[in-house]
């Protein structure tokens, strides 16, 4: 039986080129400089070290829900006409209902050790907010969550759970922060919620802003998924030539897929295809540009090199709030640019239909976000993959049943961005040197 990994595995030593440096916004000279991240998280983001020991306190917390199950989804294979085996790695079996707890626990541990008393964050669908609330409860930190208001209204029980865990939950836009007043609720709702959290944390002593996805260290923490999966597939004597995960900013995809790249690079073998499944309403990897863009709505953070549809683009509402982010993580973006990551866009209807089929045949209810990965896996298993497909089901869908209700009632639709709207949103962004335009 596969054991819980004791180390996270970084792909940084195996990149063919270094990650592009962040660009800082122009600032006036003067004033002191503070350290805005625990040192270990900085080291994990920069140092090209392959293995990082998981702290004992985090391992103890992981043991309550890890290793997570991996199985061959024969019923789903049959339902989608698969020509090769489909293996599923399921991350929904913890209190947050998603993979987000893997990094929330690690971050809460490191921030606590750094002397922080309160963590503040923004969340879309609420999985990250729930995960952070749970991690803060475990490590004795206060927690404040700015959740996209439309998502909170749609899934009020997310708010209840976070409050049960001791967090303060605020519906964004709150109207109480400068950024929410200035944007008047327009633009990207998740980046606005994050922006509100950034502003709130900056003004409160003992508080720190933290983020669940996109940062290189959060992808490292999520590598526990892929490291486990590699061992579990070996135990089953199974072989896959495609690994699929859904992409909001990239931590779930990075977690399942990038350890396979590291494993192949270390062994001098050919890696499987790493396929990022994104929402067709936020098609940064398939229709975006590789450019320097903001990570949140405040405009105070660094500009990061990312595939983006533009931080100013107003993303249409959808049931996959976890995928409603304008850019992909700089690590995932760099690997996409280097040709090491493939991407496909999936419509909401196709995603939820894949989720419905999976529920019926595997008796596990996936989140709408995970439905995008399942749909992409179904495509590959029917045509493209030669030996097998591994797909990560990033979370459960028990708080997303309204979306499945709409699917059953035939009321679900899709809103892919118009080409002119995308062009307008990225027109002023500086392209990354050497990037195709």
């Amino acid at each position: 039986m596969t054991e819980l990994p004791t180390s996270w595995r970084s792909v940084l030593p195996h990149l063919t080129t270094p990650l592009p440096e962040d660009r800082s916004p122009d600032r006036a000279a003067g004033g002191g400089i503070g350290v805005n991240l625990p040192m270990e998280l900085v080291r994990q983001s920069i140092q090209p070290r392959e293995y990082w020991q998981i702290p004992d306190e985090v391992l103890d917390a992981y043991r309550k829900f890890r290793p997570t199950p991996l199985w061959r989804a024969t019923g789903f294979e049959e339902a989608v006409g698969a020509k090769v085996p489909v293996y599923v790695k399921y991350e929904g079996g913890n209190i947050s209902g998603s993979h987000k707890l893997n990094t929330a626990l690690a971050q809460a541990y490191y921030y606590k050790r750094a002397g922080v008393a309160e963590l503040v964050t923004g969340t879309g669908a609420g999985q990250w907010g729930t995960a952070l609330a749970a991690a803060c409860a475990l490590f004795g930190l206060r927690c404040t969550v700015f959740m996209v208001g439309s998502s909170l209204a749609r899934k009020p029980y997310r708010g209840v759970l976070m409050r049960m865990l001791g967090a303060e939950v605020l519906a964004s836009p709150t109207g109480t922060t400068r950024v929410s007043r200035e944007t008047e609720g327009q633009g990207n709702s998740l980046s606005l919620a994050i922006g509100e959290a950034v502003e709130y944390a900056a003004g409160k002593e003992g508080a720190a802003f933290c983020i669940g996805s996109g940062e290189t260290y959060s992808i490292l923490h999520q590598s526990v998924i892929g490291v486990e999966a590699i061992a579990q597939l070996a135990e089953l004597e199974a072989d896959v030539d495609a690994v699929v995960g859904c992409v909001g900013a990239g931590s779930n995809f990075g977690g399942i897929a990038l350890p396979f790249h590291a494993e192949a690079a270390a062994g001098g073998t050919r890696p499987p295809r790493l396929v990022a499944a994104e929402s067709s309403s936020t098609p940064k990897l398939t229709r975006g540009v590789y450019a320097y863009d903001q990570t949140d709505a405040t405009g105070t953070g660094p500009l990061e090199a990312m595939y983006t549809i533009g931080s100013s683009y107003s993303i249409p509402d959808s049931h996959s709030a976890g995928l409603r982010y304008h850019g992909a993580a700089k690590l995932v973006s760099a690997m996409r640019h280097a040709g090491q990551v493939d991407a496909v866009a999936v419509d909401q209807v196709e995603a939820l239909e894949a989720g419905r089929r999976f529920t019926v045949r595997e008796t596990v209810l996936p989140a709408p976000e995970s439905g995008h990965a399942l749909a992409a896996a179904a495509r590959l298993a029917a045509d493209g993959a030669e030996r097998g497909v591994l797909v990560c089901v990033s979370g459960h869908g028990y708080l997303d049943l309204a979306a499945y209700q709409q699917l059953l009632d035939g009321e679900l639709s899709d809103q892919a961005p118009a080409e002119e709207a995308l062009l307008a949103a990225v027109s002023g962004l500086p392209r990354v040197e050497g990037a195709r335009v």
Partner: protein, 93 residues
Amino acid sequence: MSVEALDRVTVTRAVKTVVIAESRLSIDPDAVSGDEPLNGELLRVNSFGFVGMLVRLEDDLGVTLPDDLFVGRTFTTVDDLVAVVLDAVEAAR
């Protein structure tokens, strides 16, 4: 470089070298005084580059800076940074 070999002169030079590089300058470290502001007319270190610079200092000098740098502490001059590295060197001995 062993921690035992790290004295104030060595640490100061290492700190000046990294802040000069972070500021995208090509000047002699001796041209930077200890009371030079990190984010001023000459040096242009900002909070985003600062943490990465700390890790480079750790790598260059073989020391580990403490986690509690995070809380309630701001760095204004080159000497502020030298002091925290010297504290880490002392703790490692």
